[in-house]
Symmetry: C2
Subunit: 328 residues, 2 copies
């Protein structure tokens, strides 16, 4: 089942989308919004699945052609966005480039930060920044949406709490990060709103590419229409999603609609390219002694997508430009 949210009010209007992303149908009689569906998932999911079957079979007269530019993020605002950094290879590389050793514990204790969730970008919305000097970067990731997760859950039984999957562009302001992290309280200004893929998918939509814990497919990134990276999200993921959920739930319950991100997808096989500018820049630092690729300039375009084995887009594409924002 593929779900999306039409831009409408603060929470969008829930859509059930045909598998090939061509058509969609509103389901106000089942759930007005995706959050409402997640709040009552056990009751609602079978009804949505039946609509999904029918829209795919072309049985619904009120289905309409889907235009991705009309979509909000599947959850236009959420009660929780917790982003891991599960590709430890990426963390190690960043540290290596600045000559800092990585603590051994990073291989056994996940990194995770609490992100802002009160407003997400839709898949085709411009990224707003007041200045290029902020060092605007993209980070292509995979994320899951959970139902209610009890405090203290073990990773071994956390997997079934994953109800939906999405792609993320975790926008990062690289030049604000060092100062902010030096203060010790983590990211805040350096992590503005994130963007999500048009579609949120139930795990079954991924077929054999989903093993219950990781997505075994390349995550494809283009920068200004040029291929930028396609590392496999199932490779070099040190902490899988059930482990990330267990980490997030160690000292508190997680509420339905919690979004948990993988962190920037990164493979040790450098031939696959990167999922963020920072990683390419780190490799340039290690190779040439200095970074050559600039951070995003106003007008730059980033596209993030994942294709199935047959080459069809699974989640639709995140396709954004950086645009200058002027405060009133």
């Amino acid at each position: 089942m593929k779900l999306a949210s039409l831009r409408h009010g603060r929470d969008g209007e829930l859509l059930v989308v045909a598998g090939d992303l061509s058509r969609a149908v509103k389901v106000p009689d089942i759930a007005a919004t995706l959050q409402a569906a997640l709040d009552d998932w056990v009751r609602v999911e079978p009804q949505l699945q039946e609509v999904s079957r029918r829209v795919h079979a072309g049985e619904l007269a009120d289905a309409f052609p889907l235009d991705p530019s009309t979509l909000a993020a599947p959850l236009p605002r959420a009660y929780q966005w917790a982003d891991g950094s599960a590709y430890v290879n990426h963390v190690e590389l960043v540290r290596q480039a600045r000559g800092a050793a990585m603590p051994e514990s990073f291989w056994t204790d996940p990194l995770m930060y609490q992100g802002g969730s009160d407003g997400f970008y839709g898949p085709c919305e411009d990224i707003l920044a007041a200045s290029e000097e902020w060092g605007v970067d993209f980070e292509a990731e995979v994320a899951v949406i959970t139902d209610d997760v009890p405090m203290g859950i073990a990773a071994a039984v956390a997997g079934p709490h994953i109800k939906l999957l999405m792609l993320v562009n975790d926008v990062s302001l690289r030049n604000l990060i060092p100062g902010e992290l030096a203060k010790g309280f983590g990211f805040f200004q350096s992590k503005p709103a994130s963007a999500f893929s048009p579609m949120a998918l139930t795990p079954d939509e991924l077929g054999e590419a989903w093993d219950g814990a990781k997505v075994h497919l390349p995550l494809r990134v283009w920068l200004n229409e040029q291929p930028f990276g396609q590392p496999n999200a199932g490779v070099d993921m040190t902490f899988d999603f059930p482990q990330l959920i267990a980490h997030a739930a160690r000292t508190r319950h997680l509420s339905a609609g919690t979004v948990i991100g993988s962190g920037t997808v990164s493979n040790t096989d450098r031939s696959q390219g990167a999922c963020c500018l920072a990683e390419r820049r780190m490799l340039e630092v290690l190779t040439y002694g200095a970074a050559r690729t600039p951070y995003l300039r106003f007008g730059d375009r980033v596209r993030i997508e994942m294709l199935d084995a047959a080459g069809h887009s699974l989640f639709g594409a995140i396709d954004q430009r950086l645009r200058e924002y002027r405060a009133q």
Copy 2:
């Protein structure tokens, strides 16, 4: 106007409460939940104010006696909880006790962390922890709720975005903090669910104690029925609420219902006591060379309240016990 949320479903049921906290009335025809009211505040607020006037005047037959133990947090879950650390004196003291100098920039650049907001404790709900070894502490704070705030807003014009005020118990797991902050990504497991006062107040309810930026009243804390601290929230607050809002909104919009906290209230006048165990322990370290006051034990009770000049409770009391939690 004083608002509260009766425990009901995920978002509670909005109540308008009489000024003396004795009676309340449901307002389903105006707004079912506080978040719904905040989403449409300009339209809804005058209607709620009229109900407030009538419940206070005893004109509403469907008003009922209010029992604080039936209340959820005013926002049982929120889209954003961003907590500042505006009483820099508190930060300096914590650093002093561990022999670390505080950067000068801490006096001009606010500390703020992104907190989890997917589930808050009601004012009288037990704090759950799997172990006393986590070092469970309370932090008594003041918080504001904003409407929609545009990115890049100046502090000078941020004040009118404050729609409601509350008290907070920002529960902290002190023994998890050093390890977590050393990882560089800020708080996550060390900041479990926070609790909020029974009432959320419009600023006018504070009269002269609210100057548009700070609350000039003592914040009173009791530990196991003994007075623990009563520092004045309007004293030694280095960054006021409009400054904290501007800090939070520097690189992104804030959505209606954003909760912004002051951080632990703390006065340089030590005779007023403290708003958290950590601060008392730091003073013990500086005085005796070691902390003498333990962190919370199971069964310990913390009460947080603010009284007006006449001695009446403004927000009702946060009144919680620490209880052992066993994962299933």
